[in-house]
Symmetry: C2
Subunit: 297 residues, 2 copies
């Protein structure tokens, strides 16, 4: 029987790596890739496929509580490669920003409780009706600075995630790795790092030089593809590696050359991926990973 | 009767400027904003609204031929603010690149024949299956260099249009004004300039400094808005000024401070704008222009 990749439906180029395959030693399932699974199902799916790590999201963790989540993950023998996500601190209203700060403190508690070293920060977009992008960016930088002491106490590194400009208005005002590093470099590497995500950064002029500049500040390497035509819902535009335009071998070599030795999270937001059976999604992402990413780490 | 703006349907904030209003002295109708009009209709529409200029596209010009197009525009007393578009020279196949070069020579002939100083260059995307973005960018820069002598002979300035990264894969591999200027600055300002378009550049970190750097190289200032949620067809995502997130006053002040004294083209790609009567679209764009852009020139 021919094995088909998801969501492309094209025949797989390589065999699905079996559990125990050393090529899987750094592959992590970002929980959103199997969005219809709850935490327990995602952990079981990762284990069944032989993955050693999982990237957790706060909402499914909250469904069971941090302590139970930690036990589920520990019992399964998985690492938590990162927790998504803090941030969203660009409100123009001061009280709202205070609430965001407090929520980020809770996110740091959760990250520490889950035993992960990285809290992914999505900066947030422009407040409704506010067109002052520079102002929103400045508020994001201030909010990050305000979180650093709490992060240090908890032993968690803040990971700024620069986001594709497609999301600059409504989700993430920090648009390039260069811009994220300008903020991160005001702090020690164990305090503030960056999330390097192929979907967000593949187009950035000079991005390989910026990855080299990031060096030990890379707290998470996340992979998925930029696909065209862009799906109708731009929030579900993140495709399976190999289905789009990202040069994964070159990008991955740059991340490896920067000294990154951590897990590689596959984070895909795509309606057809979310509609597919989770175990088949993981099998496809593992195949694509060993084909396009792992040989270049 | 309340006048409604297109496509928002919200009441107009300001009166429609009448023909002869000095505030219209630099407003140009980019032909694609009224995509359902042919050249003659667009010229008549611009004249009826009191606009002094029009930005032409090659396809509707070709329908009547350059000589007739020039006569229509001249008889109407309009300036041609720019011709869209040359470019699309990123093919990996050499023969295809040669064909693109020859087509760009024809575009330069047309620009000269129409009496415009600016040929807008859309770089082109990645060839099918090709993931070497740096290579495509290098080919774009080479192709621009190869066009310069022909542009100089014809008295036309090449205008590199950096495009929003949303189009980096399929349309325009030059993604920032900084990147466009790195190419343009290898030539004299009358040889190679840049197109500054709010939709493409509003998110660029440090864009106001880049606009200052561009100075006399700005061959066209094009305005439309970045709207959210992003329309399902990303090619039709360009909204009416004021309907989205762009800070037109601040952006326009930066362009003015750089010394730009040319026309301001309104270039909107949006299904609802294209479906609306052209005269109402022009009326809305003139109102939004005198409200958000013109006072800051």
């Amino acid at each position: 029987m021919t094995v088909l990749d998801i969501p492309s439906g094209i025949p797989a180029h390589v065999d699905t790596p079996a559990p125990g395959d050393p090529r899987l030693a750094r592959l992590s399932l970002n929980q959103r890739t199997t969005a219809n699974w709850d935490l327990r199902e995602a952990v079981e799916g990762a284990v069944a496929a032989g993955l050693p790590a999982i990237g957790l999201w706060r909402e499914p963790v909250a469904e069971v509580g941090v302590d139970v989540a930690r036990r589920i993950v520990d019992d399964a023998g998985l690492r938590v490669s990162s927790l998504c996500r803090g941030g969203f601190f660009t409100a123009s209203d001061r009280a709202e920003r205070t609430r965001a700060h407090e929520d980020n403190l809770r996110a740091l508690d959760e990250a520490a409780g889950l035993g992960t070293k990285a809290l992914v920060l999505v900066p947030g977009g422009l407040p409704a009706g506010d067109k002052d992008l520079a102002g929103a960016r400045a508020r994001a930088a201030e909010a990050i600075a305000a979180l650093v002491p709490a992060a240090v106490v908890r032993g968690v590194t803040l990971g700024i995630e620069p986001m594709n400009p497609i999301y600059a208005a409504d989700r993430g005002v920090i648009s390039t790795l260069a811009q994220a590093l300008d903020i991160a470099e005001q702090f020690a590497p164990h305090e503030v790092g960056v999330v390097v995500d192929t979907f967000h950064l593949w187009w950035e002029p000079g991005v390989y030089a910026q990855i080299a500049r990031a060096g030990e500040r890379i707290v998470s390497y996340q992979v998925c593809d930029w696909i065209t035509p862009l799906p109708a819902d731009s929030l579900l535009a993140r495709g399976m590696m190999g289905d789009g335009h990202v040069d994964f071998p070159a990008f991955t070599r740059a991340v490896a050359a920067a000294g990154y030795t951590g897990d590689v999270e596959v984070e895909i937001f795509h309606a057809d991926v979310w509609a597919a059976p989770g175990d088949q999604v993981i099998a496809t992402m593992a195949r694509r990973y060993v084909e396009l990413v792992q040989p270049h780490l």
